[in-house]
């Protein structure tokens, strides 16, 4: 399909001094350290401008910053993954040879009274209006799961511990501190049984990737191929009252590679329980056995810290996932390197799986 030859990041976190355009600029500077840009088209993912600023002028700023006048715009939580997929399709079709994919969001301007309502942006509109927050949605699903498989909520607490452990080795992560399961258990309840330290923080940041055709990739050192991808919009787990995400299950049905055999997993842990739903929906294990599977394989799941430690920048998330997988596949992940990583899969969601975007990466075409 297409290959990633370079990635750049603007550190995730509460970046008070920079707006979206400045974050993109920082991102592109990081990218230029690795490669010259000269792409033909930009694939830009951003929700903060239309959602919060109610304005669309970011596209113009980006075209000025990049010098590229063709900007495709994607506006949803998993927009970064979608932008990446569309860029790959454009290259695969032969229309262009090189694409610049950017994902940027600034969520720190939201007040605490707004974030609950806004977090539900991908959920059913009537439910958002009735006061359902994304945390409450995941809590409803987690309670279903705990009851069905006779599990206790504190069994989830190992997940954010693992996320922070990975994040402590990632200089671009929002949180680089280690945490303990006790700290998670003592953190405030947000929507029972979910605790504060199981929730990823909606923050600011940007990520950018350069994509080229497979042919052109041959002249680059260690390209990482986007081998396959799929996106599916479906009735979410919450709509169906079950804990397997139909959109993920349908998406992998469109993918020939055996996703369960990937070496690296980037999963959507907006809330720690989300990781369990992702892994079970991918079919890596039987429903109800997600926690055990994750425990056994935690060294190769969310190796950069996932959403929990890196921070959740919706539009940049899919690209951050791709960049982390690329680092692993190029054997450049330093302290957090997983040995012999040859393939990776990223799962990026809207809401509770109202949409799933899955990307399969490999060292081979």
């Amino acid at each position: 399909m297409a290959a990633i030859i370079a990635a750049g990041m603007a550190r995730f976190g509460d970046r008070w001094d920079k707006d979206e355009a400045a974050l993109v600029k920082e991102d592109l500077e990081d990218l230029k350290n690795v490669s010259s840009i000269n792409a033909e088209e930009v694939f830009l993912a951003n929700i903060s401008y239309p959602l919060i600023r109610k304005n669309q002028s970011l596209q113009k700023s980006v075209s000025e910053l990049t010098g590229i006048p063709i900007v495709h715009s994607f506006s949803e939580e998993c927009g970064g993954s979608i932008a990446l997929q569309q860029a790959a399709e454009a290259i695969d079709s032969g229309r262009i040879r090189k694409a610049l994919v950017i994902g940027v969001d600034k969520m720190s301007d939201l007040t605490s009274s707004e974030i609950g309502y806004i977090s539900a942006l991908s959920l059913r509109e009537e439910w958002q209006n009735r006061g359902l927050t994304l945390a409450a949605a995941y809590a409803l699903l987690e309670n279903l799961y705990l009851e069905k498989y006779s599990k206790k909520s504190d069994e989830m607490h190992a997940l954010p511990v693992s996320a922070h452990e990975h994040g402590s080795r990632n200089k671009n992560a929002q949180f680089q501190n280690m945490i303990s399961a006790e700290q998670v258990a003592q953190s405030a309840l947000t929507a029972e049984p979910i605790r504060q330290l199981e929730c990823a923080d909606w923050c600011d940041g940007a990520a950018a990737l350069l994509l080229v055709s497979n042919k052109e990739a041959e002249s680059h050192d260690k390209p990482v191929y986007l081998k396959e991808h799929a996106q599916i919009t479906a009735a979410s787990a919450l709509e169906k009252g079950e804990t397997l995400i139909p959109a993920i299950q349908k998406a992998i049905g469109n993918i020939k590679t055996a996703v369960q055999e990937a070496d690296i997993f980037e999963l959507h842990d907006i809330f720690s329980f989300g990781e369990v739903m992702c892994i079970e929906s991918l079919g890596c294990c039987n429903p109800g056995e997600g926690l055990q599977w994750i425990e056994k394989n935690k060294k190769r799941i969310n190796t950069g810290g996932g959403l929990k430690a890196c921070g959740y920048v919706p539009s940049a998330n899919g690209l951050r996932q791709a960049a982390e997988i690329m680092l692993q596949l190029k054997n450049s992940a330093g302290e957090r390197q997983v040995k012999n990583a040859k393939s990776g899969i990223s799962v990026n969601l809207n809401g509770t799986g109202e949409k799933a975007a899955i990307n399969v990466f490999s060292v081979e075409k």
């Binding site: 009274s113 309502y117 009735r130 006061g131 927050t133 009851e147 947000t190 029972e192 009252g241």
Partner: protein, 100 residues
């Protein structure tokens, strides 16, 4: 926060009316400690299976001595959902109560 456009308020009536005074049972519930602004904390949200088998999310109100639990029967009712300050419209919508 929530838009109070007159058209939206007016169009919502039909959806609200369709869900009013309907029976269902609780499939899952949670207690929300940081609900969106305008809502009381803590707030009980339930995933409910309605009599016609469709699924809805709604707040549980008038929490009494009976324990909220999976399988409890509910009836939907009309309540204020939010109010636009002192000058704007009042949005009515669906919440539910546990019934015997």
């Amino acid at each position: 926060m929530k838009s109070f456009r007159v058209g939206e308020n007016w169009r919502n009536l039909e959806k609200t009316r369709a869900l009013l005074d309907r029976a269902g049972k609780i499939v899952s519930y949670t207690v929300v400690h940081n609900p969106p602004s305008g809502k009381e904390s803590p707030c009980y949200m339930a995933l409910v299976e309605m009599e016609n088998k469709s699924r809805e999310v709604m707040e549980i109100v008038d929490i009494g001595k009976e324990k909220i639990k999976k399988g409890a029967r509910i009836k939907s009712c009309l309540r204020r959902i939010n109010v636009q300050g002192t000058k704007g419209l009042i949005n009515y919508g669906i919440k539910c109560r546990v019934v015997e």
